[in-house]
């Protein structure tokens, strides 16, 4: 059983899923779902589509270089079955998953450090540059030309004949 990677979004394709397109030069494009296939048909570049792995890798969103990725690799030589090796592999998979999760978390933390300070700096700069757009509320109150004219409420008295109102039947 071989688990392939989607050409567009790089997710794992389990057996029996998705569609594969064989170009005339015998290059095989595998897609995990119709979403990826349609995006391919629309000639979209996965590096420019934000939800793909390629984009996230390119823009430093995800951890790319790590020793935990070394285990998952395409090998063309079939491994001889060995019960002990299988058992150890199953054990190791859990551990590797844990290690990777921790490292990914630290990667995100590292990536986000200094974000708040940066945003604050930008906000300060914007305020300094466009202070003219901000008008104090007290100024608005004094100068009537800056506010919309208040709506005039007019009450009109309507005379209703009480007899007529009673006679009217309900429609429908």
């Amino acid at each position: 059983m071989r688990l392939e990677k989607c050409w567009f979004c790089s997710s794992t394709i389990y057996p029996g899923h998705g569609i594969q397109f064989v170009r005339n030069d015998a290059k095989i494009f595998r897609f995990c779902r119709s979403k990826c296939h349609k995006n391919f048909k629309m000639k979209r570049n996965p590096r420019k589509v934000k939800w793909t792995k390629a984009y996230r890798r390119l823009h430093g969103k995800d951890m790319t270089q790590d020793s935990t990725f070394e285990f998952e690799r395409k090998r063309n030589r079939p491994e001889r079955y060995d019960r002990n090796v299988t058992e150890n592999t199953l054990k190791a998979m859990k551990k590797i998953h844990k290690v990777r999760a921790v490292r990914e978390f630290s990667h995100i933390v590292k990536r986000m450090t200094g974000k708040n300070a940066k945003e604050l700096e930008q906000a300060k700069k914007e305020l300094q540059q466009d202070i003219s757009l901000v008008i104090a509320p007290s100024v608005l109150k004094e100068d009537q030309s800056l506010t919309l004219p208040a709506k005039e409420k007019v009450k009109v008295k309507v005379k209703v004949n009480p007899k007529q109102a009673e006679v009217q039947p309900m429609e429908e």
Partner: protein, 166 residues
């Protein structure tokens, strides 16, 4: 009384019209949606049926054949099926001449075909390899990729001649 009635009528009319207007706008919007979808999606690929022109990807001498009969299936032939075809274009001094009726195996189809594991496979174009009535290929070479499903169809010779197996 009359005034009241008139006002009611007008209200009802307006509501009716409003509803109609809503319907109209909805209809328009749906139409717009479908057109945009058609613009984005590719042409829908279908079966290989009568009058489908296929490329010949062997050295039998034919260039293009037109399907005149699918030997299996009500709707037409798919990937791996055998068809009867008439040669529309041929190379000079090849084995097969223009106008001859030949048998062929569809080795590539643009319409997707389900695989044994449930996934699907599709190709760039519709291509055929010419065979005789017994299923032996006429040519001695096969160009381009062919699907491994041909093995189940007992066309092992074509598989062995092909360079790439998808």
């Amino acid at each position: 009384m009359a005034v009241n009635f008139a006002s009611k009528c007008s209200r009802a009319g307006s509501s009716l019209l409003g509803g109609l207007g809503n319907n109209l706008s909805a209809l328009l919007s749906t139409q717009h949606g479908t057109t945009s979808y058609n613009f984005l999606s590719q042409q829908v690929r279908t079966f290989i049926q009568m009058r489908t022109v296929l490329k010949v990807v062997d050295n039998s001498g034919a260039k293009k054949v037109m399907c005149i009969q699918a030997l299996k299936g009500k709707k037409g032939a798919r990937l791996g099926d055998t068809i009867i075809a008439s040669v529309k274009e041929a190379y000079p001094n090849g084995k097969v001449k223009k106008g001859k009726v030949v048998y062929g195996v569809v080795v590539r189809a643009a319409m997707q075909r389900g695989r044994c594991d449930g996934s699907e496979v599709k190709f760039d174009d519709n291509a055929v390899v010419l065979v005789d009535k017994q299923g032996q290929p006429i040519g001695t070479r096969v160009f381009g990729p062919v699907p491994h499903e041909l093995r189940q169809k007992k066309h092992v010779k074509i598989l062995s001649l092909a360079g790439h197996i998808a």
